[in-house]
Structures are given as structure tokens and as C-alpha cells.
């Protein structure tokens, strides 16, 4: 979600095998430099794809002698996923971050073969996509301050997850401003 000179990205903590909840500490948001990557979908691919991007961004950092910017990273994600067009990674990635040069907030989402969905308000992904769209459409307003954005994204996620049997079991919210990242764990329903 985009706010005024800030962005927020949030995920739930459940890992499940169909209806059986296996873990409640499975984070789906990863920090790569000052860019944040959210990954939903097949858990094995979530781990593999993250490890892959960690390698790629580390190599990028060494080659360019700077951290990758969100816009470039989005294109890296897109081409890396399309590379596997006919044997894809089953993930629904999101990218969020603030461009360190221009200070512009950036968010985007992808389908599992890398088509980029640029948005200026919010992007969603995962099993609760429908519910999240509903919550975001009704709660979101532009140019929120970081603390208000935190409240909005948290309520959107929590209430969407409660309407989805496969989501929930705790949540994590990152609020990102130019010079600070705040990570908060949310308690949520355990059913």
C-alpha cells in the first residue's frame, strides 16, 4: 500500500498443507537492500525464489556498487519469472519500496510468469486476493501518513484473512519511510 512518502507491505504467517496448519511462523516478506519482496504461493518455491533473488541482488550490489532500486528490481523479478515461462515458479510476488534517489514510493504485483501490475494505491496477492481487494477498496485513501497507513493495511489484512480459511495465524506489517523501516507483528485469530 502507498501512503504519503511511505509504503507498507504486510503478510500473514500461516503455512499449511491443505486444511492442516503446519506452521505459524512462516514469513512471506523478505528485505533485499531497501526493496521488499512479498511472495505467496507454493511454499517450496517461495523459499527457492527468495534465495534466488537474494543471490541476484547480492551480485547486482557488487557489480553496481549500490543497492538495487525498486523499479529495477521489479523488472528483474519479471524477467526471472518469464525465464521459467513453461515450467514456472508457483508464486505471486509483490514488490514495495522507496526509490532512494527520487524518494518516490513504488509498489507493484506480478502474475506467476512475470506480468507486472503497476499500481499507485495497493496491490494484493494470495489465497485471500478477493477479500483483500474488497477491504482495500473500502479502507484505502491516498496520501496517508505512516501511522495511518499502518492502521489501514493492518485492518485490511486482518479482516480479509478472517474471511479466508487458508490465511491468518498471525501477521507481519512493514511500514517503510525514506529513512526508517518499522516491522510490527500482529496478533490475530487462531482459527
Amino acid at each position: 500500500m502507498v501512503g504519503k512518502d511511505c509504503v507498507a507491505i504486510a503478510c500473514d504467517l500461516r503455512l499449511g498443507n491443505q486444511s492442516l496448519g503446519v506452521a505459524n511462523n512462516f514469513e512471506k516478506i523478505f528485505q533485499l537492500g531497501h526493496v521488499f519482496l512479498g511472495l505467496t504461493g507454493l511454499a517450496t518455491d517461495v523459499t527457492t525464489v527468495y534465495e534466488n533473488f537474494r543471490m541476484k541482488t547480492n551480485l547486482y550490489k557488487m557489480r553496481e556498487e549500490r543497492e538495487i532500486e525498486p523499479e529495477s528490481f521489479a523488472n528483474l523479478v519479471s524477467s526471472s519469472l518469464y525465464e521459467r515461462r513453461f515450467g514456472p515458479w508457483f508464486v505471486g510476488p509483490l514488490v514495495a519500496g522507496i526509490n532512494s534517489k527520487t524518494g518516490k514510493p513504488f509498489i507493484c504485483g506480478f502474475d506467476f510468469i512475470g506480468c507486472i501490475d503497476y499500481a499507485k494505491d495497493f496491490v494484493v496477492s494470495g489465497t485471500a486476493t478477493d477479500q483483500l481487494y474488497g477491504m482495500c477498496e473500502s479502507l484505502y485513501e491516498p496520501d496517508l501518513e505512516p501511522e495511518d497507513l499502518f492502521e489501514t493495511i493492518s485492518q485490511a489484512l486482518l479482516n480479509a484473512a478472517d474471511r479466508d480459511a487458508l490465511s491468518g495465524w498471525g501477521a507481519v506489517v512493514y511500514v517503510i519511510t525514506k529513512d526508517k523501516v518499522i516491522k510490527r507483528y500482529l496478533k490475530s485469530r487462531q482459527d
Binding site: 498443507n17 492442516l20 503446519v22 506452521a23 507454493l42 517450496t44 523459499t47
Partner: protein
């Protein structure tokens, strides 16, 4: 219907596996050990397609030992978990994937208890307690209810006994009891469990 259970307690890890080796409707053996010792502080328990399981476990065991001999350093639990996961994640996208679920128990760097659950897809989670297969359905609620992170070993074994009783009661076929192994600072040892 094999049972693989793990509980991480204060300064040790308990791993329990069923003794029955079943094919189709027959129990072919009642003393089957579904674990492999990887090194002094790490134990791998496994189930899945018979054949694949032992082949995969032996492969992991051999590679861990080879690494230790080449580099003259013991691999710690997290490194082993990463290696096992990587092997399974690569395998799932090959023409003949290993259909193996594993549970890795050990002491990370010889001190910190560690328990990791990895399925045939390469999904890895590090957990305080876990089970593979149908056993999970019957034991997770018991573990959720009674587990405490600072439990001592004997309390952990008591909890395991509860799980065992529940499994005997609810499992549709005989699993011939459990082999119970404990990993603590003295290494890996069998526990008399009956």
C-alpha cells in the same frame, strides 16, 4: 501411514518413528528403523515412497560425511537442513522426483536444539514440534495443548507418551510401536519406550 514425530524441548530433541514396514496390506517387518545418523548431533528421520526413502537418506548421509571429511568441519543443523531442502526442491522439478518427507532433529552447533520439517516439495519449516502424514492430524492438537518451550526431557517424553496413546487409539492399522531417539549434548541415543 508411517509415523514420524519430533519434539524440541529445553536442551534436547526427541524424534519418534514407527517400527512397522508396510507394503500394501502386509506388515513385512516390525523392527524398521526410519532414521539415519548424519553426524554426532544430527539425526534424519524419513517416510514416503519405500525405495526412494532409503536411497535419499543414504545419499544425504554420505554427502554430509563426505563434506566433513573433505573440509574437516562438522556441518551444523541449519546447514544440513538447507542442503536437504535444496536437494528436494531440485528433485521435485526433475523427471523422477524423490517422494520423501524428512524430519531433521539435532543440536545446532552442538548446543541449540533444532527441529526442521521438510516435505517432498522442498517446503522447509523449523518448528518446536511436528509430525508427518496422518500422525499430524492426531497429535498436533495434543502438542498444541501441552507443549511448553522450556520443557525438560522427561516432560517431553511424557507428552510423547500421550501422543503414542492417541495414535494407538486412532490409527486404523497397527504401526508396531515407536523407536524413540533423543539428541542432546551427549549425542544421539535410543530411549526405551514402552
Amino acid at each position: 501411514m508411517d509415523i514420524i514425530l519430533g519434539i524440541r524441548v529445553k536442551d534436547s530433541v526427541i524424534v519418534a518413528t514407527s517400527k512397522a514396514f508396510t507394503r500394501g496390506i502386509s506388515v513385512l517387518k516390525d523392527t524398521d528403523d526410519k532414521t539415519r545418523v548424519l553426524n554426532q548431533y544430527n539425526l534424519l528421520a524419513f517416510t514416503g515412497e519405500s525405495g526412494d526413502t532409503t536411497q535419499f537418506a543414504d545419499y544425504i548421509q554420505a554427502n554430509i560425511q563426505l563434506f566433513t571429511m573433505r573440509e574437516n568441519t562438522e556441518l551444523n543443523s541449519k546447514a544440513i537442513a538447507s542442503f536437504v531442502r535444496q536437494q528436494l526442491a531440485t528433485s521435485i522439478r526433475s523427471r523422477t522426483p524423490y517422494q520423501v518427507q524428512v524430519l531433521l532433529g539435532g543440536l545446532h552447533n552442538g548446543s541449540e536444539p533444532f527441529l526442521s520439517l521438510i516435505d517432498y516439495l522442498g517446503t522447509r519449516v523449523d518448528l518446536p514440534y511436528c509430525a508427518h502424514g496422518y500422525a499430524a492430524f492426531y497429535t498436533m492438537s495434543l502438542l498444541d495443548h501441552h507443549y511448553k518451550p522450556d520443557m525438560a526431557l522427561d516432560e517431553g517424553l511424557k507428552l510423547l507418551k500421550l501422543c503414542h496413546q492417541e495414535l494407538v487409539k486412532r490409527m486404523p492399522i497397527e504401526f508396531k510401536g515407536l523407536y524413540v531417539k533423543v539428541i542432546d549434548k551427549d549425542g544421539i541415543r535410543d530411549i526405551d519406550f514402552s
